[in-house]
């Protein structure tokens, strides 16, 4: 079943990319986002490139991937001011379709947690999130995705989101701020109000502050930076 899910997602993303770039001459992709902050182990991969360490200020284009290690973080800001906080042990891939001053974005979350603050989208623009179990369309709101082996959890802080389960009966729906949606691997969709645990998870997912410890040695200073708990 998991293989089938993976194939569905891959086909969908291929279709998205093919649709967006069909008929165009191959050109270096324009940057659509910037890496604003990194903590510990964060690497990225350009299309047709290899994984490498990322630096603050790295520009990201369509097809670029980011993955984070344990206790790590990447903060990504799009050119429309939308923000992603990519939490630990997470992998994402960003896609974009630019048409004049409008950019439609799709972020694929393979696994892990991503906090989002999507700026109000213009007409003919949208910000989509895709996971192995669902696709969500956002026009301006805040929340958090957690993608794991059991499925996807969407915790919506405010605004509204249109969603569609990619498995089972492919249930469509709309959810508003203050609610969460659980998409399971068998296609079930459960909407409920945000639980205290989910609220804490949501608040934790916003944290980007770090602490540093300097250990002075004869060979120089050893700096350890870690995320605030």
């Amino acid at each position: 079943m998991k293989k089938f899910n993976f194939m569905v997602v891959v086909l969908m993303l291929v279709a998205f990319t093919a649709t967006n770039f069909a008929g165009e001459n191959p050109q270096p992709a324009a940057p659509i986002a910037i890496v604003m902050k990194i903590v510990k182990d964060v690497s990225f991969k350009k299309v047709d490139g290899d994984w490498s360490n990322i630096k603050i200020g790295q520009a990201l284009s369509t097809g670029d991937e980011i993955k984070t290690g344990s206790k790590s973080l990447a903060l990504v800001k799009f050119t429309d001011n939308s923000i992603l906080r990519v939490r630990e042990n997470c992998s994402i891939k960003i896609y974009a379709d630019k048409n004049d001053k409008q950019i439609s974005k799709n972020t694929y979350i393979g696994k892990g947690g991503v906090n989002f603050e999507v700026a109000k989208q213009q007409q003919n623009e949208e910000f989509q999130f895709t996971t192995p179990t669902m696709v969500a369309s956002i026009r301006g709101t805040k929340g958090f995705f957690q993608v794991g082996d059991e499925g996807t959890v969407l915790v919506l802080e405010e605004g509204a989101v249109d969603y569609k389960s990619l498995l089972g009966d492919q249930i469509k729906g709309n959810v508003k701020g203050g609610n969460s949606v659980v998409f399971t691997n068998d296609g079930q969709v459960t909407v409920s109000t945000i639980s205290p645990d989910q609220q804490k998870q949501l608040e934790d997912s916003k944290k980007t502050n770090t602490k540093k410890i300097i250990i002075k040695t004869n060979q120089g200073d050893l700096i350890i930076e870690y995320l605030e708990e």
Binding site: P31, M36, I56, K101, K212
Partner: protein, 814 residues
Amino acid sequence: MVKKVTFFVVLFLLGLIPTTFSQISSVVSEVKIGNAKENESLTIEARFQPSSSVTKAVIGYRSFGQNEFTVSDMMVQGSSAFFTIPAAEVLPPNIEYFMKFSMTTGVEETYPEEFLKSNTPIQIQVQSISGKDREVLVMSPEKGEKILPDEFFISISLLRASDIVNKGATKIYLDNNDVTNIALFAEDIIIISPENFQIQLKDGLHSLSVELYDTTNTLYHSVSSQFVILNPSYALLGQSAINYTGDVRFESRNENVQTVGTWYNNLNVNLQADYKGFNLQSNVYLTSEEKKYLQPNNRYMVNLSHDYGAITLGDHYPKYPSLVLNGKRVRGFSGEVNLGFFNIQTSFGEIYRNVEGSIIQYKDTLGSNIIEVNPSKHNGNKYAEVNPGTFKRSLLAVRPSFGKGENFQFGLTFLHVKDETSSIELGTAPKENLVLGTDLMFGFDNQNILFTTQAAFSLLNNDISNGSLSDSEIVATFGPDGLININPDDVKKLRDQVSGLFTVNQYVTPLNPQKLPSLAAEAAFSLNYFDNYLKSSYIYRGEQYSSFGQSYVRTDVAGINILDRLRLFENKFFVSVGYESLQDNLQKIKRATTTFQTLNTSLSFYPRTNLPSIIVGYTRLNNTNGLSPIKDPLDSTAYLSAINDITNRISTQLSYNFEWYYRHSVSLSFVNSARDDKSHANYDIDNSSVTVSSGTRWFDNLSSSLNISMNNSKVDTTNFSYVSIALGANYSMMQDKLLLSGSLSPSFGDYKRTSFDASALYYLMPNLTVQFQFRYLNYDYTSTKIDQYTNVQYAVKTKANDVIMGLTTQLYLQ
């Protein structure tokens, strides 16, 4: 580096061209107002006439379409009073304001002087956020961001920039230095990455400025922002450390006004700190103007807040539903707990402190301002004529509410304010006020659909010195044979209902609460879609409504207010229309009912091309009560009570920023207000002013401004015309360590005055400045003043040479 930023800010402000308003006033010589821009705080400075002895100043302001004024104390410092309107309340197309001053003589005056009569405040045009501002997004560092040196880089998004912008010609300035040459341009994004950035930024405040040019290489738009570089040690401590900022400012100033020299010394300390989600703000303001015989001028405040609550100690302005408590200074405690589903807010403290009165002379009988005194303390005298003191006035407010306030909230408010009768000996008529209120809101779709309503009921006792009446006293005082023809049983019922909470005697208003003369209520419904904000509201203010927590509520009116604000063509064009129709005489106790109709319109145009922006406004106020001195010449009541006046006000403002060898900003504004009073008072007012302003940035360290204002007023039959010119310049030297500024402002015509201002600011250290200021004023004019109650005219001659010198030091902590 801080000094460079300050200088840059000075230059930037010069580009904004502050506006000076002048009206005929025996208190205010001029009002200085910065450029009013949407969602940016706006500071108003009222400079006093030399002969004025202002002890207290308050300002009332409201944005377009608001029914009520928000009234707040102004900070009086020597010969000026200041107030900053919060950014959230600076909304296009305009803000209206008035000021009220209390003098040492006890006299109160308003600015504009005719405000109490005409209810016509002064309008300030507010410039909308330019659509161009949205075309540039500074992604990093964000406006006001506090950032570590090793996390600093610059990235700018031009995704939304207009097609006529040449993105490759964009210039970036960091602390006024051009850093464009190290920027990487990648289509919509401009990046200056850390490895390209060789300059080591010092800790503290920095500025970033971005200039966009069009395809003809003409400046299209510029945006500026500030950010703070943190000390790297902050990161070592991380969030477990206290992040704090602060500043200490000390001023010593001598004012030589009409040969009388006075020293003013002020110390102002601000401190802000945050720790693990807790935010601390504190302020201490100590001034030599603190006098025991006046209300306090010193200020102390500590506020500790968190997402779930806050506590405040000292001088603060608690905010409750606007009908009950808002804008009133309380010295005491406020606390709130916000759980979302349930919240509670409470405040207690004093709003006036006790100031003892003084005896003028002893008397044998009671009379006006003659009170009973204790013979054992006053050599056997029983009565004395006094300058009455001020009782200590204590306040208690509680508001439980349900709901977060995002989609729903329901609240109940209790307010009790009482003069402490034992706080002074020589006082008259201590008062008590009780207000019960309720409020409700529903919001949908991020409050794009919003319904709000509130209602409040008040009881006021104008003299509680003798306490509540007994049953027998009520029977003797009320009834057909008593002093007041009200059923004694109703009064007993009222007394028993509020027993322990409120003093009931013959001085209570209303004594007939069941007829709701002291009810105030309002309801509003708004829709915010498709760049169109539409709001309609209904207000009701009973004739006897009174809240000591709200200084200005217009009473005895009811009616509707409709506002529509439309943004068109991607914020290039704004249309605002407001209409209000109110009627008084709600309790039918006046002979005629007056209808107050106000039409407010405004058109604003902000072209994206290289053309001036234009704001045009028209306001019409029509007040009439149907009585006519002409129709009823023999009816003296109709003759004297007739109200029939129309005021038409037209305003136009053109602003243009351009480059012609140097950077220039020019603006032209024209305001005409004409009041045609057809009542017997024939109080016609005609006021016109034309102002031309320009600012030029000659070099990075030199800028200048020129302001010419022509004013012509006619109040009744008295003309008052004058022309003011203000020429100013700013210059920095010694590598921006020394900032010099000066201005010369002569006025001609009926208002002859020359002022010269000079200032030198020197950076002893990057975060420590010392500033010397000098002001010379020469007055020689005669103005005609009209008593607002009797309409009697009298001349006020003012002739003086005044000198003001001050030394200020300021220390920034970070």
